[in-house]
Subunit: 211 residues, 2 copies
């Protein structure tokens, strides 16, 4: 069975799912979602694919699974890879996935989108507000990774794959230079990039540049 | 054993945990966190209580559990209440908890805080930006609840308790009138308020007003 992943190259949330499929050595194919031409805003997409109007969506066994955190948990349970070994570790993993969705990925993704992908400049006050939120979230993960090799402990889990959604895109897309500003995050992404079968977002998912 | 919940009245994220404890009929006591005087920003709180610098934190069995979504999942598993009945339902519940953390609670909580609790006015462009995000998230839940009595289906789960974190605060705190603008969300919160042992946030958690 081949997994089908609705995605596009610039989406780090989709990359989380693509990277997990790849790291687990699973057979999968991308289904290109033309985000920059409004595909996820169309009524058909919302009613037939995802009421939340987002990628990624994973098709498997006749089901469509949405939300990157659900896809990661599903694949971890199915494959026995990158999940927790007990309830305690499952909770620690979920804790970091929730932090990622609430603050780490979310503010960065929005900031990066407005910085280089939205196609029109955003009010500087909004950019400054979002940048402050990005920095606060990045400092928390920086602090965690200064004393732990991976988010949930001594080995990579789906918490890391979630947090890694946006850290491998070129720095100029966001104007935030992780290598210069967050040394512990930089070292951690190096450990992730060293995992077998690792690949970068634009090498895994089809990309259409914004018009 | 009595659960101890680090919380303060204005925190809807803490309310999620308080409401769950209450709905499950569990013995618990609040531990007041003086958020408006900077308690969660202090180094001791970050190192000893929660590196993420947030409430809620639940003390139970010698452990401290953080992130409302983890606390809800933990209590659901422990009590057998408000959780999923199988892996499929667990995934649907997690999907809405992630949506809540990513978009529904997060933008509303930030908007409300800046609207009435921060103590100083925020740039109007930032408020307009956040309000647009709030509305997009609320429209998605409105659409879901127009065809389903609860977020994950026909009965209340921890997905609803998570999504309900901020919908019971007085409308003047956010300037957003759910009863007027989102009829399906309004009807849904009525169904939650009708559950046995339901109580409002300011009746469950100690409150200190911002200076």
């Amino acid at each position: 069975m081949t997994y089908r992943l609705h995605c596009f190259g610039q989406s780090g949330n989709a990359y989380k799912a693509a990277l997990m499929l790849e790291l687990c050595g699973l057979p999968w194919e991308p289904v290109f979602v033309d985000f920059f031409n409004g595909a996820t805003r169309e009524a058909d997409y919302r009613s037939d694919v995802n009421v939340m109007g987002e990628v990624p969506v994973l098709e498997t066994g006749g089901r469509r699974i949405t939300q990157s955190g659900v896809i990661l948990s599903h694949l971890a349970r199915e494959t026995g890879q990158f999940g927790g070994r007990d309830a305690l570790e499952d909770e620690e993993i979920l804790r970091w996935i929730l932090f990622d969705n609430h603050k780490f990925t979310s503010y960065f993704a929005t900031y990066r989108f407005l910085h280089s992908l939205a196609g029109k400049p955003m009010d500087p006050a909004v950019m400054a507000f979002l940048k402050g939120r990005v920095q606060a979230a990045y400092r928390i993960l920086e602090s965690r990774l200064a004393s732990s090799p991976f988010a949930a402990g001594d080995r990579p889990t789906i918490a890391d794959i979630s947090l890694a959604g946006y850290v491998f895109y070129p720095a100029q897309e966001s104007g935030i230079d992780i290598a210069a500003e967050y040394p512990a995050i930089d070292a951690w992404r190096g450990r992730i990039a060293a995992l077998p079968r690792f690949a970068l977002p634009y090498d895994l998912m089809p990309t259409a540049r914004p018009a």
